[in-house]
């Protein structure tokens, strides 16, 4: 089956896992997802330094400014000369970073350096840069970031590689009976069965997303097991698990009961025996409220949007659209279920050029969106404002999620004020 050159396609006709043909790209004004600046600031006391051209710099420096974190952010600007003379790029990078670090009130213990696409294309000697910087600043741990989106079409994204680089500085640690949850930007919610069930067994949890001190961050390797709950974190946690020789369990927020049971058993806890019944009851109650009103889901809200769609459709909800540009290969089973059981569900691209047409809900019917992009495309003020699954997991997570849907359906939000803000969950001074 060919990919669709249109901006939407019935799921029954969609190619898995890439339903859409690439082309020029639109960017919707929904920015709650985290970028590399937000992610980098998860290391307490880390200072970020970007080395790039003006236009590329603007996005990252303003991200830091809107977080109120300019004191932990610096820039080295690349100009045409840096790209003409052999060795100039290395020199500008090394001297620029040195100048920045020497001018700070105190040299930070961790510095994340971000070269860019240009460094790669100019054949810049990255190892030489880090060797030299490490000689000049022996007390600094340098994290090897990269802002090179040119590589992401065929390989890993800059944020996946940044997470890996950030985990590379976590030292090996003793087994102390604890579990480290790592790779997701959202801290574990109180409505998370991983947290609830492990704590009930008296097992200590270290949560990367909730580290407050650098010591906490360095201690993430002291555990019996690593748990990763977000796809973009898997590359880094897999490498970390191998390096520090700890078992890794990958359990992203899913709405499939069987998957929840087996995932929880893998980390050594017993799922809530009433979990399925209580979730079904909550879904049934919610269906009474929402009725046949349309629901649109986007991929930024939860890591498994097809799993969510399947959960809702199988309980009678009217899920019409799923906004995504590609499908996580791990969602193949849910994709096939939807093809068979809800073939008219529309997959809608978020980057297609037609996305620029302002999507406004002109009918009187209330549309419930799950995720910021869905809210923008549907032009609705009734939406679940969530990214990355919101730190939820398991039966407790599903029930909390259904409650958020209920709240979103009842109480309208100021979509235009909320969704252009960057980094949901981060500090924002706007």
């Amino acid at each position: 089956m060919p990919t669709s050159s249109d901006d939407r396609i019935r799921i029954a006709e969609a190619q898995f896992p890439k339903p859409f043909t690439g082309g020029l790209e639109f960017n919707a004004p929904a920015h709650g997802t985290w970028n590399i600046v937000h992610i980098g600031f998860k290391i307490p006391r880390a200072h970020q330094i970007y080395i790039c051209a003006d236009n590329c710099m603007r996005g990252v420096v303003m991200t830091a400014a809107e977080m109120g974190e300019l004191s932990r952010f610096s820039s080295v600007i690349l100009e045409e000369d840096d790209m003409v003379f052999a060795g100039r790029l290395e020199e500008s990078t090394i001297e620029g970073v040195t100048d920045v670090l020497n001018s700070l009130p105190e040299v930070p213990p961790v510095v994340i350096v971000f070269p860019v696409c240009v460094h790669k294309f100019m054949g810049c000697d990255i190892n030489f840069i880090y060797d030299e910087l490490s000689k000049r600043f022996p007390d600094v741990k340098f994290v090897r970031g990269f802002m090179d989106p040119v590589m992401q079409k065929r390989g890993t994204t800059p944020d996946q590689r940044l997470r890996k680089a950030m985990f590379d500085i976590i030292p090996e640690g003793e087994k102390d009976g604890s579990v480290t949850v790592i790779g997701c930007d959202m801290p574990l919610s109180e409505d998370n069965d991983i947290r609830i069930l492990l704590e009930a067994k008296g097992i200590k949890i270290r949560d990367e997303a909730a580290c407050r001190t650098l010591e906490d961050y360095y201690a993430l390797g002291c555990c019996d097991r690593l748990v990763c709950s977000y796809p973009a974190g898997l590359l880094g946690t897999t490498a970390l698990a191998k390096r520090i020789d700890k078992p890794l369990t990958y359990i992203p927020f899913t709405f499939g009961y069987d998957a929840i049971d087996s995932d929880l058993k893998e980390i050594g806890v017993t799922p809530d025996p009433d979990g399925r019944t209580s979730c079904d009851k909550a879904a049934s109650d919610l269906k009474m409220l929402i009725g046949d009103n349309e629901i649109a889901i986007d991929y930024t809200a939860v890591p498994r949007p097809l799993s969510l769609a399947r959960f809702l459709i199988s309980r009678g909800f009217n899920v019409k659209k799923i906004y995504l540009d590609a499908i996580d290969p791990d969602e193949k089973e849910d994709f096939e279920w939807l093809v068979s059981n809800a073939p008219d569900t529309m997959l809608c691209a978020t980057m297609h050029v037609k996305g620029r047409r302002l999507g406004k809900n002109e009918s009187d019917e209330k549309i419930l969106a799950i995720g910021q992009k869905a809210a923008w495309f549907e032009g609705t003020e009734y939406f679940v404002n969530m990214i990355e699954g919101g730190g939820l997991y398991g039966y407790a997570g599903i029930k909390a999620f259904l409650k958020l849907m209920e709240d979103a359906f009842i109480v309208p939000k100021d979509t235009e004020d909320i969704i252009p803000r960057k980094g949901l969950g981060c500090c924002c001074v706007l």
Binding site: G22, E25, P29, R58, M62, E66, Q152, R154, R356, E416
Partner: protein, 346 residues
């Protein structure tokens, strides 16, 4: 080191300037870039994105196409998008990687024109300059490609250089006896700006409009003035500074001189300054130079970001500039024409 910015943000970049200048003109604007330019632009450099349609896209360039110089995908994607979106023209902008590999944008523009039947032109950007350069190049390229000679409208006037990056809240008052022919280019339209050659005077309201004004002078015989003829107001050296874009800063300095008799010197921190500064003014590039220039300041007027590198002893007057602080102080940005809204003598 000129290139190091320890705490100060950089200005909006040239690619965003390109997009801002042509936003409302009905064209399809394509930035040949892997990713990032679009998000940066619509998040931090554009106030219209949420509510007002504009066909601004990136190419999504990947590493293999960049390395092999494969322009076919870029061209095919543009043609397909033009068929879908029916723009009135197409404008192309560059970014660091296509700049490095010497992509032939003029050739690509010709091919796109042949295949779509639409006017297509290239705006020289490479993401290594500030917005004034990008917007200026966009206006100039648009003027060269799209404007045709026309009969004059008596008293007709064009406003040149009015993007929201500089003038998000400015209301320009048209002098008595004058008629507005076109506004380049905020709250305007393609049909309006195409009438520009009918004007008898161009009023340059930021440095982004200067190149197009010079072009229209040579091509259509339209003279131009800088807003408020601010260079005619004689100012002396002082330790009071206005930091920012030279035309806006110069206008404000002249207005203060006329109203209060106080001298302010402009520290121009954006790129285009030729013919826009008085003798007492200066141009600075980079955080260290600006910090040094401000070190003896008694009063500073500028975007609140500059307060981060200003001496504590100086009185700081906030004049937020969207192209510097973006959304941070958006609600505080005054009408630059109304001095009383942002400056008072103590």
């Amino acid at each position: 080191m000129k290139k190091a910015y320890k705490i100060l943000p950089v200005y909006t970049g040239d690619v965003s300037g390109f997009a801002s200048a042509l936003y409302e003109l009905g064209g399809m604007l394509v930035i040949h870039d892997p990713s990032g330019c679009n998000s940066t632009y619509n998040t931090h450099d554009e106030v219209r994105w949420y509510r007002q349609e504009a066909l601004i896209y990136i190419s999504g360039l990947n590493d293999i196409d960049a390395i092999t110089g494969n322009d076919d995908k870029f061209i095919n994607d543009i043609v397909r998008a033009a068929e879908d979106m029916k723009p009135r023209f197409i404008a192309l902008a560059n970014s660091p990687l296509p700049y490095l590999n010497g992509t032939d944008f003029k050739g690509i523009s010709r091919i796109v024109e042949d295949r779509t039947g639409l006017s297509c032109f290239y705006v020289q950007t490479n993401a290594m300059h500030d917005y004034t350069k990008g917007a200026s190049e966009a206006y100039l390229a648009f003027a060269k490609k799209m404007l045709k000679k026309a009969d004059k409208i008596k008293g007709g006037i064009n406003i040149l250089g009015a993007t929201p990056l500089d003038h998000v809240n400015t209301e320009f008052v048209i002098p008595e006896g004058r008629t507005l022919v076109s506004n380049w280019s905020y709250k305007t339209s393609l049909d309006e700006v195409l009438k520009a050659p009918q004007a008898e005077l161009n009023l340059v309201v930021s440095s982004t409009g200067l190149a197009a004004a010079k072009y229209m002078k040579s091509e259509f015989g339209i003279p131009y003035e800088l807003i408020g003829n601010y260079l005619d107001v004689k100012r002396e050296k002082s330790h009071n500074y206005i930091v920012g874009e030279p035309v806006i800063s110069g206008y404000a300095a002249a207005a203060i001189k006329k109203q209060y008799g106080t001298d302010f010197n402009v520290i121009a921190t954006t790129e285009i300054t030729d013919g826009l500064l008085s003798e007492c003014d200066m141009k600075c590039h980079g955080e260290d130079e600006i910090r040094q220039a401000l070190s003896d300041a008694e009063v500073i007027i500028g975007d609140p970001m500059f307060e981060l590198i200003s001496p504590k002893s100086a009185r700081f007057v906030r004049l937020p500039h969207f192209a510097m602080s973006g959304r941070l102080f958006r609600k505080e940005i005054p009408d630059i024409m109304r001095l009383e809204d942002y400056y008072h003598e103590p």
